[in-house]
Symmetry: C2
Subunit: 556 residues, 2 copies
């Protein structure tokens, strides 16, 4: 009997299951469930209004994803549930909820469900920004060494600011909660009947370190007296790396999913991180960029290095046995989309419609008829601030070099190039900090669809670019960890190192840098660097001052 | 019998006559002639191909303007030709042609008319840029003092580079030409039968100084041995200020125009300069901005001051008895037009069409709903280089402060504001150099039509703005000088000082600065200044380097 594993990828708006043949890596079937409640950013299901920058989710949607998509992929493949030997999952992060001792979400309790703080705070819930700002200030004052591991700043999207917001605004919810738990780990709990906290979210989002653990009590007390015992009281300290078996499908979970009781379940993971082995990477020196609305850069290293402006470094955070590094760009696909929505003349839209092509495709094609440097334009890719390497949300976009002959496709190309320069800045910063970047891989919607963007990236970074062989890299990676959880004896693998060469994959196409283009981009990147440092490192803080003026106006 | 004067304004694409009542200033009738040959920038009438950056005109179009529009305004007003006591004209400049000793344009000679150099070189003929570059280099090496009077640079649009191009590329045309003459002065010659060179074009475009005359022979010889005697051989050195009577309508001109023989004809003028008295300005401290595709700033002073980056200072250049200063911005209306053509989404155009309003109007209205500083955007208005005060065609546009919520109307407003900051930079530079700017006037299409732009200007420069009372300020100014040429005895005026209070006019509306807005713009302008100096004064020459890279690509 052929053996299969399932990977479940919990995204922002939907969840997806992917059934994969363990020995061939073939992706046999897939099924998607669009969350019924989506992202709740205006009201709760009972109509309770939410504040600005809130973003919640409903845990029932996660259970429904399991219930609907797992049976669907088994059925579509025409296999028996017995053929599925393991399951792994990945999630957006930090997506966190308060639960009772038995794992019941507080929002499932009618007496609490009108309180927004009882619900799942989605990764992009930004209402804890004041807490994040204050946390960073306190951490700097106390010279907390953990700051270095996170590029000097803890994001408002992460665990501690989100919990701090709960105790600030709804102390009764804080008190009632037995655990604050990543949604990823909560789903594993539903499948296995026990809490098995994963090292990826703990490390990248929860300020946990394999040797040093969480920050000290005195740090939490400095944030809020009520948080002093947060770690002991409300967080799990038993933390497991990806690839570990979390447990087995329970009777309850078998009922829910159709999987057999006893099927192996892997420790949970994060969507970006789990994609690394999905393209076959299990060793240092190979950077994976997951390119969508924003970009995540993942790379493995043998030592813990402090890389300025990275998002995080976590031992066992990606693959057990290595330090996993993460960096990011906050505005990539979003950048191009902004341009299309706000800056493209009607005649271009008409032209795209007449040809029956997407406007991005039309713009990219026009842009590709230009040589590098031909437009005379240069941009800084900070339309949504800068995540790495400056870690500064108050930076803004810049376009330089326009004249009266400047065309939309020239600006579009300049924006694409700007994001490529941003990636090169990240690569260079890693290398200067002792983390080598020998190979470059890309996954995600842009890598999958936009060959013109990828060629520009190859020319700008001067490296070959390999593309994920699966359009569903996170789900594939999760399935691979499911195979590792099952183990070789059951027909899976003993480690991700043996799974990756078989199940991980890249496309045949490799984007190779064009030597002439590389030479021009060398010059342009040098100009980018000068502007990057001038506007980004304090020499001229005009971007921040303009934001201050803007805030002054809006608060009037 | 009521007395009338006629002003004829020769523009880039058409010529206009305006009939004005001398004693009331009432504009009785107007007529426009669209030049049959327009701007010849691709071929001559016989099909001869023109080079890149060429822009020629046909002198016949000027004669046809006189022949068609003067009879038309007389007829429309229902007056007798005897009632017209004087005529004045203004022209684009430097618009120059080679003529024979009798004033016949070389291009009227069939044996020469296939040579592009026999035609009128229009102001925006830019093919003499290599000559201009070399001229400036030589002038700097020789430390020619005239450079200071022209902001340090002689433009390729001006007289000497254009003539130098002729001797370089068509020495036979140079040799055959008896005179190189401004089209303005050529038209006066056609009306009066004699050459009467005007001080405005001689001063602003011909490097002529009332006391020092033209540059020395050795300077011309340094340009080209054949140019050593240019002044003596090919240029008139009898130069007359505006308001002087050039002569009287001849029998030939009477035949052409329907005006009576003996009607007074004023010395010619330039469109921008002649507008100064048309808004009633005849004394120092009052700046007039003529705002169209680009902007000219004119102001009178009592002394000759060296103002960095001005376009020129010429004694008697605007009004006899004063030093006339000119500065300019090379990209104003063109800037907004570029934006509309290249950066406005289809839905905005649909909205404008549905409302039946111009897209500029829609954008301006949306932009006006924003408070100053609210967008967080700032731009440098260098989409077409910088004329004053940096005098650098190689500077390019910059937009800073964009984010993913930035809307088209916010960018539009930022571009408008950028041009206003450019005007403020000019005002400040004049004041720092000892030329006071107490009042501010505006004329031209934008001043006439766009109240939102004008309010932004008032807020940025912190001064009241008065608007030309006539939409045809140049033609009105020319008519006024026609009345001065006629003299008081004939029913006109003895000087422009007595004509201006009666015939010059401003609208009732005054744009007054809003105190709150002024305070915000103070801060924004400070940021503009920092970027202006950083990118414009050599600290970071990225704009020039990007242009170099671009040229390298295009020349490959």
């Amino acid at each position: 009997m052929e053996k299969y594993v399932i990977g479940v990828d919990f995204g922002t708006l939907s969840g997806r299951s992917l059934l994969v043949n363990v020995k061939t890596g073939e992706e046999t079937s897939t099924a998607v469930y669009e969350y019924r409640h989506g992202v709740m950013d205006e009201t709760l299901p009972d109509g309770t209004k939410l504040g600005v920058d809130w973003a919640l989710q409903h845990p029932q949607d996660y259970l429904d994803t399991l219930a609907k998509t797992i049976p669907a992929v088994i059925k579509e493949a025409g296999i028996e549930a017995e053929a599925v030997i393991g399951i792994g999952i990945d999630f957006t992060a930090c997506t966190v909820l308060p639960v009772k001792a038995d794992g019941e979400p507080l929002c499932f309790d009618k007496s609490l469900s009108s309180n927004p703080h009882s619900w799942v705070k989605l990764w992009k819930h930004h209402a804890a920004q004041p807490e994040a700002n204050r946390l960073n200030q306190i951490a700097e004052e106390r010279a907390e060494s953990f700051l270095n591991r996170y590029g000097g700043k803890i994001s408002s999207e992460w665990l501690i600011p989100k919990i701090w917001q709960v105790i600030n605004e709804a102390p009764e919810i804080y008190d009632t909660a037995s655990r604050f738990i990543e949604a990823a780990d909560w789903v594993i709990w539903q499948l296995t009947g026990k809490e098995m906290r994963n090292s990826c979210t703990a490390g990248y989002k929860g300020i946990w370190h394999k040797e040093k653990g969480y920050p000290e009590k005195s740090f939490f007390a400095a944030l809020h007296p009520g948080l002093e015992n947060l770690v002991d009281d409300k967080l799990s300290t038993d933390i497991y790396p990806a690839g570990k078996k979390a447990g087995e499908i329970t009777a309850f979970a078998s009922e829910l999913t159709g999987l057999k009781e006893g099927t192996a379940v892997a420790v949970a993971n994060v969507d970006a991180h789990v994609s690394v082995p999905a393209v076959g990477i299990t060793s240092p020196g190979k950077m994976l960029a997951i390119m969508g609305t924003s970009t995540c850069h993942m790379i493995l290293g043998e030592q813990e290095r402090i890389v300025p402006g990275m998002c995080g470094v976590v031992e066992d955070g990606i693959i057990e046995g290595y330090f996993g590094y993460e960096a990011g760009q906050s505005c990539v696909g979003d950048h191009f989309q902004w341009f299309v929505e706000n800056c493209v003349p009607g005649e271009y839209l008409d032209e795209a419609a007449n040809e029956g092509v997407d406007i991005h495709e039309l713009l990219a094609r026009k842009a590709m008829s230009l040589a590098p440097g031909e437009s005379g334009l240069l941009a800084l890719d900070w339309w949504n601030g800068n995540r790495s390497v400056l870690v500064d949300v108050d930076l803004t976009g810049l376009l330089i070099g326009a004249n009266l002959n400047t065309k939309p496709e020239e600006i579009y190309r300049a924006l694409v190039e700007a994001t490529a320069y941003g990636t090169r800045m990240i690569i260079d910063t890693f290398e200067k900090s002792g983390v080598e970047v020998k190979e470059f891989y890309a996954a995600g919607g842009i890598a999958e669809k936009n060959s013109i963007v990828m060629q520009i990236y190859a020319d700008v970074i001067g490296r070959d670019i390999r593309i994920s062989g699966s359009p569903q890299a996170p789900a594939l990676g999760s399935a691979m960890f499911g195979a590792v959880a099952a183990g070789a004896e059951a027909g899976g693998y003993d480690s991700i190192y043996s799974a990756a060469p078989v199940m991980g994959k890249v496309k045949d196409i490799i984007y190779k840098p064009d030597r002439g283009n590389v030479a021009v981009y060398e010059k342009l990147y040098h100009e980018y660097e000068i502007l990057h440092d001038y506007f980004g490192r304090g020499e001229n803080n005009v971007m921040k001052r303009l934001k201050e003026i803007k805030k002054g106006i809006r608060n009037e």
